[in-house]
């Protein structure tokens, strides 16, 4: 089933397939599978739209989000995932750090 976005965010449609991911481990995997340039392409678009997207999502308050709004939030989670690469490290993963693929993301594996 193809994910869709709410009206007004068509600029993000090309990125749904790669970045509308519902788990941290998928988003981390996608980050690690990308080049820095590929991350920048997404970063430039999503970081520009993020304030408006968040404003829009805040209108739902604490209600459960409809599916297409969740897709928008997932794209924002992917911004959170790639932001350090662009804003801090200028590298997909910081050079010399412990390999993130060796870390178990426990909160997605069991009830903590």
């Amino acid at each position: 089933m193809t994910k869709t976005l709410p009206t007004g965010f068509t600029e993000l449609e090309p990125f749904i397939e790669l970045w509308a991911l519902s788990t941290e481990s998928e988003r981390l995997t996608q980050r690690l599978a990308s080049t820095l340039d590929e991350l920048r392409v997404y970063y430039d678009v999503i970081s520009e739209l993020a304030p408006r997207a968040l404003d829009h999502l805040q209108s739902f308050g604490s209600e459960e989000l409809p599916e297409n709004e969740t897709t928008l939030l997932e794209l924002l989670f992917s911004l959170a995932e790639i932001a350090p690469a662009i804003e801090m490290f200028n590298s997909v993963v910081e050079e010399g750090v412990y390999d993130p693929r060796k870390i178990t993301i426990v909160h997605e594996q069991m009830r903590v």
């Binding site: 993020a50 801090m88 870390i103 903590v112």
Partner: protein, 405 residues
């Protein structure tokens, strides 16, 4: 913040009885010391292994593996609401009882011969009971492990009789965080890994700030300190536990996404840029308070979130580690986003802390370095090893880290 003592040995002035000499490196490689610590440290002290909220309802359980003790422990909330700890071992022929890491059950039943235990550990049902000899079910309940709870944190003690209650064990330290609202921060994110290094190489990554400008040079690039003031804001050493406060980084400029996240949720940026906070010994403008509960648990508290490090030895050269971050339960999409930003930043900073562990172990294995030199600001580390020595001595072993002290 100016120190009241000369800036280069201020902690030694605060704690003049502590050693100043080098520490021996060989014990970190010794199988004998590992074996001794297995019993004297992990076999006898209170170990923090989770939080009560992991078993919110009657029948909820989780299983905690403690490799250093070759123990598997069931933590289960019984019908009366009490949280119990049992060895995950059937009283019949020692089969492992619970094979899932967590769940909810009405009773605990062994898959081998159907022995069934109530949630309070008592043996309820034994198929073919009449064929046992002089058999009284009351004498064959699950083997209980001592469990006590402090501020929602579950501690267990593997000793047959703990030398002290948990309250006595925590002592003055226990009241130190009395005001911190742990219960408010129930949204938990957790990461674990197994490292090829001794458990103390892991603990040492988290009990000094000397490494911050180097290890975290890219993530905390503007965490500026005047070198003459040192890196800790304040340190308080208890007989076994320790508190060390990191000053805030007032010069910290949030990155674009960090600033956006901060609009919606507490995060590390807010904390380290030094909101006036109410917790801890020196209540003004500290970034966060690191707290080591001996032997292997850290609970670091900030304004709006806290995180923990849990370190369990697997073998002399292998260690299991789990990192948990706790936030307030997010209610809006914005809060979820803000937490995601903070979580990823913390996770990436953690990868920096973990970067040296296996390299250090590898470099140590050859035994080339005989003495580890510690500066005054590494006082919490020094205190940790002095405490380990004291623990060994109490169990009639020789002190090994500072044998001359």
């Amino acid at each position: 913040m100016s120190p009241s003592s000369p800036p280069n040995h201020r902690f030694h002035e605060q704690y003049p009885d502590m050693s100043t000499g080098a520490m021996k490196a060989a014990p970190l490689l010794s199988d004998e010391v590992y074996d001794n610590e297995k019993d004297a440290v992990f076999g006898k002290h209170w170990l923090c292994i989770g939080r009560e909220v992991q078993v919110p309802n009657r029948g909820d359980y989780f299983v905690k593996e403690i490799p250093v003790a070759k123990a598997s422990i069931i933590i289960v909330r019984d019908r009366s609401g009490k949280v119990n700890a049992f060895h995950n071992v059937c009283r019949h022929r020692s089969n492992k009882m619970m094979w899932e890491q967590s769940g909810t059950c009405r009773a605990m039943t062994c898959k081998f011969h159907g022995w069934s235990y109530k949630l309070d550990g008592s043996l309820a049902d034994v198929p073919d009971e009449g064929r046992f000899f002089d058999f009284n079910k009351e004498e064959h309940g699950l083997i209980r492990v001592h469990l006590e709870i402090w501020r929602g944190f579950i501690f267990i003690c593997l000793a047959e009789t703990p030398a002290e209650s948990l309250t006595q064990y925590l002592g003055e330290f226990g009241s130190y965080l009395a005001d911190y609202p742990f219960e408010k921060y129930s949204q938990c994110f957790a990461y674990s890994a197994k490292f090829k290094c001794n458990w103390k190489v892991v603990t040492d990554a988290f009990q000094e700030a000397y490494h911050v400008p180097y290890v975290h040079g890219k993530s905390l690039v503007d965490y500026h300190h005047e070198p003459e003031l040192g890196l800790f804001d304040a340190v308080k050493l208890h007989p076994r536990h320790a508190t060390f406060n990191m000053p805030s980084a007032k010069e910290h400029r949030a990155s674009r996404t960090e600033a956006l996240g901060f609009q919606y949720s507490a995060n590390i940026a807010a904390a380290i840029s030094g909101a006036e906070t109410d917790y801890g010994q020196d209540k003004k403008s500290w970034g966060f308070s690191g707290n080591r509960i001996f032997p292997n648990f850290f609970c670091d508290v900030l304004d709006g979130l806290y995180f923990t490090h849990e370190i369990i030895p697997v073998s002399r050269g292998e260690t299991w580690y789990e990192h948990r971050m706790y936030f307030a339960k997010p209610e809006t999409a914005g809060q979820r986003f803000g937490q995601e930003v903070s979580k990823i930043m913390l996770r990436d900073a953690l990868l920096e802390d973990l970067s040296t562990l296996e390299h250090t172990q590898e470099a140590m294995e050859g035994g080339a370095l005989k003495d580890i030199v510690l500066q005054d600001e590494e006082v919490v580390l020094r205190h940790f090893y002095e405490t380990l020595d004291a623990t060994l001595v109490k169990d009639n072993f020789q002190p090994v880290y500072f044998p001359e002290k």
